[in-house]
Symmetry: C2
Subunit: 350 residues, 2 copies
DNA sequence: AGCTACCTTTGGATCGTTCTAATTCGGTAT
DNA sequence: ATACCGAATTAGAACGATCCAAAGGTAGCT
């Protein structure tokens, strides 16, 4: 309770050097485990380090060496479990490599993204991992980041044209292949009339997933009715509302590939309201494998992007880039995995 | 695609100074908006700053001024939506104050906590917000942190005795009051036989919540059967398994105050398996208000700690502490709010 | 002794900023 | 002339580390 702890003046190399009468340079060598220093003096110095409770000042070292030991992680939505898990993965791998994570949240606002990016840049991160906000565009990002630090784009493409000389790396999910897997799975279960449900046309991920669906359908020589593509905002509520659109014509589809888990859960709600039992009378799949997917009624067949692993991968990619700054920029597409649960039943036998 | 972008050498004050033939000092004054500089030269300098694309090197400034512009945020589990939301709140408020968040995840390991803390300390944060790992203890934390930076404990108490001279601030949730509110609510709905379900005895939050439950029961002069306190790990699965313990004696309780939402959701599962409809035949409450709580079958009555607001509050507390390092350490207890949903029905009328 | 070689240690400059104590300069009072 | 003023600018030493070139010491060999 006492308020009388003088905040300890920080111990520096000079204090240690003075404390055991060697030079600053020697202490520095000891710290970095150089083989140059005599083991006798090393012991003395190490003892003194302990005694005075020295803590290394990485900022000073970074200044002198013109290096950095931090990576900025800028996320559009930390509240989303997918990104939280991703962040945990990033932080873990960075930590293992001796880097520290500078966090920044943009809350899906391109304006905040600008502010966050330039604020973080002042702290001189060695690189940046950015999951862009909804309407963020390449031009503004370039203006904020410049060539100060390499950038890795995650999860979303940037609006606008990619500037020629900014060689940014990318880590994206294999939306197309994922949707294809889901569709093929439904086909294998015996479905022939399969709809694509939810999402917005102008979102790149939705277009990609739809393309995967089309691919699978065509490969199986199944016809795609145009009114089987139903657009809606990727929320539970909207999806529930749009359920009826699925049954506006006969014969109605017996299954749907949904844009994501939220939409799929909404569709389940809508089906229940129509007296149809999802996973019994109608099959459906999601995308993302959010926590609720496994717990739904019924549990949802979906695609997992393994967000934690993606975080680790992102960290590795940016660290690699630090290691060879001049290498060609690369675009990595992470595969997604089909998680089969009960929602993807065979079609009713009637 | 070209690999030929030389990473731009960083522009410094010297470059700007040379570029418009003033001294480094003047440029520095301009940057910090000092009234000393003539507005004509200010304009010239600002033009040059833009022209060369200068970015401020806060690390260098911090070194010189012996200040810091970062706060370390060390969390036991970023994967938990509660902490993710908390982190978002912290980052937001810190950002607004011109600080940057250094993230560190410990994954509930006290060993990793040690490593993370000392790694983060080397980056010289101005303060630390720590939500301790499960078995973290005061002694080790003190050893890692020393007096380098003020510490704010969040959410959990540390094991071991609080060292006398380390005046650490605390921000805790009002577990006891929350559990009391939930219990009182069930009593008001007409329940008389109420159990306390889940959690571990050795966790401080569980003890506090149980105390609140006892308080409410005693205030209402209701008897508490000892076998109505059922211990289990705070996971869905464990909770489902322990459900039968509730009904091992007659008359069985008609309601349960659960340690947290995960446990409550597990209990719902267990009830369903016994043919009991939660929210109809048996009432229950949770704690935390995780996202799934609102979407459960039925929606779960629970206590919300408003994690985002707690994050903002934590950030404010640590910033205050930076402002007056010598003030007495304080312990803040954040109130929690009862969210009434359908799971807390009146007892069956039979 | 002188020369080389090796092992260890070190002074001083440096990274990019800020701070302190001048310094410059036109103008005004003495 | 001299002194003094205020406003604007600046040289140079910090901050805490690292790097470089050079120096001190010991040992072996002519």
């Amino acid at each position: 309770m006492s308020s009388h702890t003088p905040i300890g003046r920080k111990v520096t190399l000079n204090d240690i050097a003075a404390g055991c009468s060697v030079s600053r340079a020697t202490v520095s060598l000891v710290l970095r485990g150089s083989p140059l220093v005599n083991k006798h003096t090393r012991a003395r110095v190490e003892e003194e380090l302990r005694r005075q409770g020295y803590v290394y000042n990485r900022a000073a070292a970074n200044l002198r060496r013109r290096t950095s030991s931090s990576i900025a992680l800028v996320l559009n939505d930390l509240t989303n479990p997918f990104f939280a898990e991703f962040a945990a993965g990033v932080d873990q791998t960075l930590g293992e490599a001796g880097f520290v994570t500078l966090l920044g949240c943009t809350s899906e606002s391109a304006t905040r993204e600008q502010a966050v990016l330039s604020s973080l840049l002042e702290h001189g991160p060695g690189g940046i991992i950015l999951s862009p906000a909804e309407h963020s565009n390449a031009h503004d990002v370039l203006a904020a980041v410049g060539t100060q630090a390499p950038l890795l784009l995650f999860n979303r493409e940037l609006g606008g044209t990619m500037p020629e000389f900014a060689h940014w790396d990318q880590l994206m999910l294999d939306n197309q292949h994922g949707a294809r897997l889901a569709t093929e799975h439904l086909i294998a279960r015996g479905h022939r009339r399969i709809a694509f449900f939810g999402g917005h046309l102008d979102s790149s991920s939705c277009r990609q997933r739809h393309a995967g669906y089309v691919q699978a359908m065509q490969a199986a020589r199944l016809t795609i009715e145009p009114h089987w593509r139903i657009e809606c905002a990727p929320t539970r509520l909207e999806a529930a509302h749009q359920t009826s659109a699925l049954f506006s014509s006969t014969p109605a589809p017996t299954a749907a590939v949904c844009y994501n888990d939220a939409v799929a859960l909404g569709l389940m709600l809508g089906l229940n309201q129509r007296g149809l039992r999802p996973g019994k009378d109608f099959a459906l799949t999601g995308f993302d494998d959010i926590a609720e997917a496994a717990l739904g009624m019924p549990p949802l067949t979906t695609l997992s992007a393994a967000p934690r692993e993606r975080g680790q991968q992102a960290a590795q990619l940016i660290l690699q880039r630090l290691h060879e700054p001049q290498a060609d920029s690369r675009k990595t597409i992470a595969s997604v995995q089909l998680i089969v649960r009960e929602s993807s039943c065979p079609p009713p036998t009637t």
